[in-house]
Structures are given as structure tokens and as C-alpha cells.
């Protein structure tokens, strides 16, 4: 999914690499940081930590439910455990463990859910996690972050360690466009504007932030000024920035690499419907399982590319104009 902004190709890097690098940084700073993995050391890029801190690294085998609760026990002993596996297993296989043991007890466990989204590619539907936002955000006490690129994943991981409580961080498999840099501010629970505009606002998370920025350039060519907001924290959701966008733009597009049911679009709509209803269009996977294919062709086939964001923005604008 290479993206060009202002006719320049963006650097491509893996989000999970940001997770792996942040863990090493945390390991150096805090001897209580421990890492657990379920037979996916290299896929989750926890190998950097494992090589440096073998004593604080626990290979738990193919048993995600057990791993989740081992992390719980470590946290009771005062450790700050980061566990990692594919998002499909982290969120669905261990959902009961997250609900009852981690969240209900409000334990200080951090979950790195790798391989989120259709862009996982050739492995197909079972490995393309697209339900995590819906599952995790429905559970009290959970914090959930869907960072957009390498740098943001790194910052999200550091931020997760700095707060007390259970956190789920979702990242992907592929190289994705780097749209932030080392110095871009990251505040947990606060979205931020990446592009100004007041005709329509595009609220995006994860890899869709890059697609949204690309879409905004396309819209600019059509004389439509789109605001792009990076909503990396799904929970707690930044209601303020959503309502400000609704008031100032009057039309909203949400963009996520996730099922349309209960995802970012749902979360944003819950806020808008209660406080300031405006037309909302959702760019997401429309209640379907994925399939094998190349990441780029799957994103196109499932309708979550920049062109789909453009179409959604135009539709939202039309609905807004019909109201006035």
C-alpha cells in the first residue's frame, strides 16, 4: 500500500517493528518490563527483546488463553508484562481472559495484537483480525490504541507502559507508509489534526490514516477541503475532537481496516448521535470475512483504499448539503 503525498513516495516501514523497538527501550529503562509470546517471536518482533533480556522473556507456546493469564499473574507480582501474538488470537481466543481476569481486575497487562486487518494478505481470513476494536472497546477498563505507522506504534507502546491498566495495541503485518516522525506529539486518548479543512472531516486510525491523507489530496483537486484527524486511541475516545469536527465540518467520514460493526465508525457515531448528529459515512470492511491475496489488491477489493475514502467524503458532503 505505497502512498504518494505531494507527489512524493512515503517511506515504508512495519508498525510491529515500532513495537519491537519500543520493548527494547522499555526493557533497558525498567527491569520490571517482561515480554511473553505465543510461538510467534519473529512475527511479533519480540525477538529484539528476547535477545537482550532472555531472563525476562517468556515463550508460552501455542496457548494464548494461558499466556494472557500468566501475564496477569506476573502483573500481580509487580511486573509490567507485554504479551504478543496475532490479533485474531489475542482478542478472540483470549476474550474471556481479557474480560474476566485482566479488565475486571484492572491489571497492568499490555497486549500487542499483531497482524490486524485485511492487509495481512495471503494467510487469508483466519489470520486477518478485523474484530478487535469491537471486542476490546466493549470491555470496561480497557484502553485501546490503533497506531498508524512505525513511529506511532513505538510511541503507543511507550505510552502503554507509562500508564497503569490493561491496554490493547493493534498493529499490522506489512510495511505501511510513515506519515509521522519521531517528534510528532503523541498523547494517549487525544486525536490530532493532520490536515486542515472544514468541508468534511475524515477520522481514521491505523493504516487508514495514510489512505485518508491521500484521499484528502484527491479531494483538494476537486475543490473539497477535507480535514484529516488521526484517532489513534479508540478507547478512551477523544470526544472533543470528534464533536469539534462535526460542528465545524458538518460531515464525517470514518476510515478503518476493521469490520464496520462496532469499529471506529461505530464508536464515533455513538458520540455524534448523542451530542451532535451529522451525516456519517464509514469506510470499513462491510461485515465480511477476508480472503487470500496481496495486501494492496485486498484493500482495493474490500473497499478501503483512498479512492473509497474520496467517494465516502463526497457522499457525506452531498448528505450535508441536502440538509441545509
Amino acid at each position: 500500500m505505497p502512498i504518494e503525498l505531494q507527489n512524493k513516495k512515503l517511506e515504508m516501514r512495519k508498525t510491529r517493528e515500532g513495537f519491537g523497538h519500543a520493548l527494547v527501550e522499555l526493557g533497558e529503562k525498567n527491569p520490571n518490563v517482561v515480554v511473553l509470546v505465543g510461538d510467534l517471536v519473529e512475527s511479533t518482533m519480540t525477538n529484539f527483546f528476547a535477545e537482550k533480556f532472555p531472563d525476562r522473556f517468556f515463550e508460552c507456546g501455542i496457548a494464548e488463553q494461558n499466556m494472557t493469564n500468566i501475564a496477569a499473574g506476573l502483573s500481580v507480582r509487580g511486573k509490567i508484562p507485554f504479551l504478543s501474538t496475532y490479533g485474531a488470537f489475542a482478542s478472540c481466543r483470549a476474550a474471556d481472559q481479557i474480560r474476566v481476569t485482566l479488565a475486571y481486575s484492572n491489571l497492568n497487562v499490555k497486549i500487542g495484537g499483531a497482524h490486524g486487518g485485511i492487509s495481512v494478505g495471503p494467510d487469508g481470513a483466519t489470520h486477518q483480525a478485523m474484530e478487535e476494536i469491537a471486542i476490546i472497546r466493549s470491555i470496561p477498563n480497557m484502553t485501546m490504541i490503533v497506531p498508524c505507522d512505525y513511529w506511532e506504534t513505538k510511541k503507543a507502546t511507550l505510552a502503554a507502559a507509562a500508564m497503569f491498566g490493561p491496554v490493547y495495541i493493534r498493529f499490522g503485518r506489512e510495511n505501511v507508509p510513515v506519515v509521522t516522525d519521531e517528534k510528532t506529539p503523541f498523547v494517549l486518548g487525544k486525536g490530532y489534526e493532520m490536515r486542515a479543512g472544514s468541508d468534511v472531516a475524515i477520522l481514521a486510525c491505523g493504516v487508514m490514516v495514510a489512505e485518508a491523507l491521500s484521499a484528502a489530496e484527491m479531494l483538494e483537486g476537486k475543490g473539497i477541503h477535507a480535514r484529516v484527524i488521526n484517532l489513534h486511541t479508540i478507547k478512551p475516545l477523544d470526544e472533543e475532537i470528534i464533536l469539534k469536527a462535526a460542528r465545524e465540518c458538518g460531515a464525517i467520514v470514518t476510515a478503518e481496516e476493521h469490520q464496520v460493526n462496532g469499529g471506529l465508525g461505530g464508536a464515533v457515531s455513538e458520540v455524534l448521535v448523542r451530542h451532535h448528529p451529522v451525516p456519517v459515512e464509514m469506510v470499513a470492511v462491510m461485515d465480511r470475512f477476508g480472503r487470500s491475496g496481496k495486501p494492496e489488491e485486498l484493500m482495493a477489493a474490500f473497499g478501503i483504499k483512498d479512492v473509497n475514502v474520496v467517494a465516502a467524503a463526497e457522499k457525506a458532503l452531498k448528505r450535508k448539503q441536502a440538509r441545509s
Binding site: V34, Q65, N66, R99
Partner: protein
């Protein structure tokens, strides 16, 4: 951290008090589980009053042993053990399962000091104890981890994930227990979904297994001592118990798994236990 450890006679007397608490709080709440708490009462008393290093007034004391009831539904015995050991006043037992009280139907970390991890969804607890044991070993601490499971609970798949990992990690600071009362909600465990032979299963998972009469206080203390002395592998104590032990009409009847006694039934039970509802509820409310 008890100044002197109670002897067998004192432990038996304490276990009797625990049974009186259990029946009294269930009679008051008219909701909750009777059978399991009564089968756990004896080894639970040994665990809380003899085996573990605890500081109930400072439940987060760094040197504490970790205990966790994976069978969250046996809250009557958990709360009674906690209150009798000094975690909170006995009077709270009389608010068990009520909206106003702090004692939820299943253990809740947020509401009760000393409950380290909430539980209630079966099969999850052994993994938590494995995690604590790993953390303690990492810190070179002498703390031990204790986990109480049920025999019906062995039907949950996660139990075996946890059993495999405890054996693999050779956690000799972990002592797990199964309350083998042979009953679950729908009937005898043997009929619902056979879990035996438990000893063979755990041995195959690299555990040291101790079979023990769960109502013989002397044998219970010996089993805990044997587990403590075992090196290089985790210990599993299979406490062979009777559901509803101590209340004649409840014994060995699975119908009492999840049912509280009605007030007249409670009076019969408390009479068998040498007290009455009026006397024992007054004791709880006064402390």
C-alpha cells in the same frame, strides 16, 4: 504472619467456625453456593491459618504468598477464610451478594482488599498462579503461589494449557489443589464428563502429585509440607472431599452445588454444627 501456628485441634475448631460462617451467610443472602465451600473448608483453613505467609492488614505486603481461587463460586468459604484471618470485619459476611455489601457473588479485586485477581469464569486461575510463580522466581523471592481448583473445572481446556506450562517451567514454588468432591452442577462429575485419573494426568504433565483425604487435618498439613519440600516441579494436591461436608443432608448431593439453604434448613445445619442462626449471625455482626 501468625506469631505461632495453630495446632491440629485449633485448626479443626477454626474449620468448624468457617462452616458456621458459610451456612449463616448463605441463609442471610438466600443466594450462593453451599456444597463446594463446605468441601473446601478443612484444607482452606489449613492453607490460610497454617501454610501461607500472609499479612491480612497489609494485603499487598511484598513478601506475601499468593493465593487464588480459580473456583470463584466458592466465595462463601473464601470470604469466611479472609474475614476470620483478619482481612476485613466479619460483619461484611452478612452483606454477601447484596447490592450494599462489598462481597460480590464472585471475587472482585476492586472491592475487596486481599482479592488479588477477580475470578468466576472457570479454568483461568492456574495460569494466573503460574504467572505469579514465574515472577517470584525471577525476583529470587521465596514467595509461593497457591491455586485452588475444582474437579469439574478440569473439563476446561485452559487448565491443561496451564498444567503443561507449570510443568515445563518446573515451578516448584507453585502448589495447586483440586477440591475433588466428585460433583458439579448437573450431576456427578464421573457422569457429566469424566476427569479421572487426575493423578496420572498431572504426573504426565511433569507434576508431583499428592493424594490426600481433604477432611483429615493431620493429613492436610502433611500434604502441604510434602509440596513445600518438592523441588524441580510443581505440586498438585488432590484433596479427596465430600460435597457439603459437615451438613448431613447436603453431603454427596450435587443439588447443593449452587443452592443456599432456606432459613429452616439452615437452622438444621447450624444445629448440626453446634450453633443457631441467632447466635452465629450475632457473632458475625458484632465483629
Amino acid at each position: 504472619m501468625l506469631a505461632t501456628k495453630p495446632d491440629v485441634t485449633e485448626l479443626k475448631a477454626k474449620a468448624l467456625d468457617i462452616r458456621r460462617d458459610i451456612i449463616t451467610m448463605l441463609a442471610k443472602s438466600q443466594s450462593g453456593h453451599s456444597g463446594g465451600p463446605l468441601s473446601v473448608a478443612d484444607f482452606g483453613t489449613a492453607l490460610f491459618f497454617h501454610e501461607m505467609e500472609l499479612d491480612p492488614k497489609n494485603p499487598k505486603w511484598d513478601g506475601r504468598d499468593f493465593w487464588h481461587f480459580s473456583i470463584g463460586h466458592v466465595t462463601p468459604v473464601i470470604y469466611s477464610l479472609m474475614a476470620e484471618r483478619g482481612y476485613f470485619p466479619l460483619k461484611h459476611l452478612m452483606g454477601f451478594r447484596s447490592f450494599e455489601g462489598i462481597l460480590q457473588g464472585h471475587p472482585c479485586r476492586k472491592e475487596v482488599p486481599g482479592i488479588e485477581v477477580s475470578s468466576g469464569s472457570l479454568g483461568q486461575g492456574l495460569s494466573v498462579a503460574v504467572g505469579f510463580a514465574l515472577g517470584a522466581r525471577l525476583d529470587k523471592s521465596s514467595q509461593r503461589a497457591y491455586c485452588v481448583m475444582g474437579d469439574g473445572e478440569q473439563q476446561e481446556g485452559q487448565v491443561w494449557e496451564a498444567a503443561m506450562s507449570a510443568g515445563h517451567f518446573e515451578l516448584d514454588n507453585l502448589c495447586a489443589m483440586i477440591d475433588v468432591n466428585r460433583m458439579q452442577i448437573d450431576g456427578p462429575t464421573e457422569k457429566i464428563m469424566r476427569v479421572e485419573p487426575l493423578a496420572d494426568k498431572y504426573r504426565a504433565f511433569h507434576w508431583h502429585v499428592i493424594d490426600c483425604d481433604g477432611h483429615d487435618m493431620q493429613a492436610i498439613l502433611k500434604a502441604f509440607a510434602e509440596a513445600r519440600a518438592t523441588k524441580g516441579k510443581p505440586s498438585m494436591i488432590l484433596f479427596r472431599t465430600t460435597m457439603g461436608e459437615g451438613v448431613s443432608y447436603m453431603e454427596d448431593d450435587y443439588k447443593w452445588h449452587g443452592m443456599p439453604p432456606k432459613m429452616d434448613q439452615a437452622e438444621v445445619a447450624l444445629k448440626e454444627l453446634g450453633t443457631s442462626y441467632a447466635e452465629w449471625s450475632a457473632r458475625l455482626l458484632a465483629n
